[in-house]
Amino acid sequence: MAKAKTLGMMGDFAVAEAAKLCNPDVIAAYPITPQTIIVERLSEFVADGELECEYICVESEHSAMSACYGASATGARVYTATASQGLALMIEIVYITASARFPVVMTIANRALSGPINIHCDHSDAMLARDSGWIQLFAEDCQEAYDSTIQAFRIAEDKRVSLPVMNCLDGFVLSHSIEPVTTLPIEDEETLDGFLPIRDPLYKLDVDAPIAQGLLALPEFYMEIKRGQQEAHLKSLSVIKEVIQDFGDRWGRYYPVVEPYQMDDAEVAVMTIGSSTGTGKAAVDELRAEGKKVGLVKLRCYRPFPVKDIQAALKKAGAVGVCDRAVSFGSTGPVYADTAGAMVGRGGPLVKNFIIGLGGKDITIDTFRTMYDNLYADLAKGEIEEPVEWIGIRGE
């Protein structure tokens, strides 16, 4: 019987604790900053007999996801973690794992993609995988990183979903920062008091009932198969919401897919993902105290992209700035692109894009003040002057 404890934990540490709680059968992982603490901690659990699993110290991230694919095919519960270059190296298999509908859970300790090489936080790594078919959840703080890990297994393995889930926590900002984290009080560790049943696979490699997975699909069938995958992905949103509700009902912490903060009467708002949300909320509080009607929308679930929830959250604002910690070169930030697509042609707010915090560039209250001033200026003009603005870098 485990009692709830509130401890100071680094994000990586919290994720490892949560993963341990979920009893993965197979972990195949390769270390990369800033995820290393996760894999090290899990190794310690295995070495101490606290976690019974096959821990494969693979020779690269590409082999990590390959081994996860193979293990998941047998019906096992599978976990891994990576970041940045590791995700980029394995990306081929990341797509394949989603197409196979294998419910692998992977933590990404968000780190900038090279080049230049940079070990600090941005979302370019997760954004690389946004088309891959994985469900993507972003954590605001270490508590959420812990809770999200547990929710991820439940979401992934639900047979209505059966898709892999990518849990993102900001590199260093969360992964290596100590925050108070309350663990789950549970009696039945095997199923977390019924919240996380033993995996019952959608299909598996079974010598008594042979199947074939990984066939060559010619043009006649490829698009139909992918349409089926898309359908499963879109439908997963309702299951994600169910799981969020169930988790909250049991343990009191709710994490909606889109969380409006002070949006009821907000004139201008920013949309954030990841840890910058916390800073943003603090900025909102400060500005509200100064009489400014500002708000913030936290996007927790980026894939599937919760179109209706975003439309509902943003529709009453005058001007919205979507914050991206990544950029699609030659175009805008990715979250902005999805958001603008959701908001286009619906009346509603002016929408623009802020590129912030690349490569670990610090995001502060002042960053938000700058963005809100910027939004107010556009609102006053009634149009967006600069659709994409990079905030916080030294100019000429």
């Binding site: 059968d25 699993c53 693979v58 590409h62 193979g70 599978v78 490699l205 042979p210 066939l215």
Partner: protein, 323 residues
């Protein structure tokens, strides 16, 4: 000591791995390889993990899958890693009592491309980690599936589409990568070379590999009628010449250091390499418009050198040799 079939009649009649209806080229020995692997271990449940290669593409054009057993394909270079995961998943599920305990063998198979070149990292890692599985490399000496491009396994002077025999450069400049020595250097309990021309020897080696608790590796030469340019009926004849000319001797390596030579018998006089080369269209430029004795000699010298190296390492065991 395990029992090995000494006659083809000892092999089971049933097809339990690959089925008819696959679309490998007419006369492609890869089909035979897949059949024989299944027959080598008839009582053992198998899970087959396949690389991207001719065998994968031609046997699984959706929704036609020519496999009687559970079959998994991931990508090109990661078969050994995928097999590692399958092994780990099975073992843990059995350990936790979620599936019944059974002695299931994981067979990983890939071509020379997916093993020697792009796949060498994964195979090296999987062997180092000691997973219980068998890796079979069927070697047709080029990336045949994508249209006959050279690989590390391609022999010296062979024409391929990326090592063509032109006016200035006559085929592949490099020599065949010594894959089995690289694998053996990992110190695994058992690895061996084999040939489609010696089916019982191949079956024996597959069975031995399966019996190993840990990684085992079988490297089987598979002449490709499309890529090497010979008649559809001749794959096995060409393979036989590869062995008898000592170009591709059949041997086993135990624990990474104890070599046992099976074929050809060193007491037999060698078949000149020219006899092996002359029927293969990919080496036509060595014979027409005129004979290129210089390159043929280079190939012969290389074969002789490799043979000497092997004799220094290996004992010849007639007992091991079963056609």
């Amino acid at each position: 000591m395990a029992d090995y079939p000494t006659r083809l009649a000892d092999l089971p009649k049933e097809e339990r791995s690959v089925s008819s209806g696959h679309r490998l080229c007419t006369g492609c020995a890869a089909g035979t390889i897949a059949r024989l692997v299944g027959k080598a271990v008839p009582d053992k449940p198998l899970i087959w993990v396949n690389a991207t290669c001719c065998m994968e593409v031609a046997t699984t054009i959706y929704p036609f899958a020519a496999w009687h057993i559970p079959w998994l394909h991931n990508a090109f270079e990661n078969t050994a890693a995928t097999a590692s995961g399958v092994r780990a998943g099975l073992d843990m599920l059995m350990k936790k009592g979620r599936v019944p305990e059974r002695d299931i063998e994981v067979i990983a198979i890939g071509g020379d491309g997916g093993t020697y070149d792009i796949g060498i990292q994964a195979i090296s890692g999987a062997i180092e980690r000691g997973h219980d599985f068998v890796y079979i490399c069927y070697d047709n000496e080029a990336y045949m599936n994508t249209g006959i491009q050279r690989s590390g396994a391609t022999m010296h002077a062979a024409w391929t589409t990326t090592s063509p025999a032109g006016e200035v450069v006559l085929g592949k400049k490099e020599f065949k990568k010594p894959l089995l020595r690289i694998v053996a250097a990992h110190g695994l309990e058992y690895c061996a070379t084999a040939s489609v021309s010696h089916p019982l020897d191949f079956v024996r080696k597959v069975k031995r590999a399966v019996d190993v608790k840990g990684p085992a590796f079988v490297h089987v030469i598979q002449p490709c009628l499309r890529g090497w340019r010979f008649d559809t009926s001749e794959s096995f004849q060409v393979a036989r010449l590869a062995v008898e000319s000592r170009f591709f001797p059949l041997y086993e390596v135990y624990h990474g250091y104890k070599y046992v030579l099976n074929y050809p018998n060193p007491a037999l006089s060698k078949v000149p390499i020219e006899d092996y080369l002359k029927n293969q269209g990919r080496l036509r430029h060595l014979f027409r418009p005129e004979k290129n004795q210089e390159i043929i000699n280079i190939i012969q010298e290389h074969v002789d050198l490799e043979w000497e190296k092997l004799l220094e390492l290996a004992e010849f065991s007639e007992k091991s040799a079963i056609y």
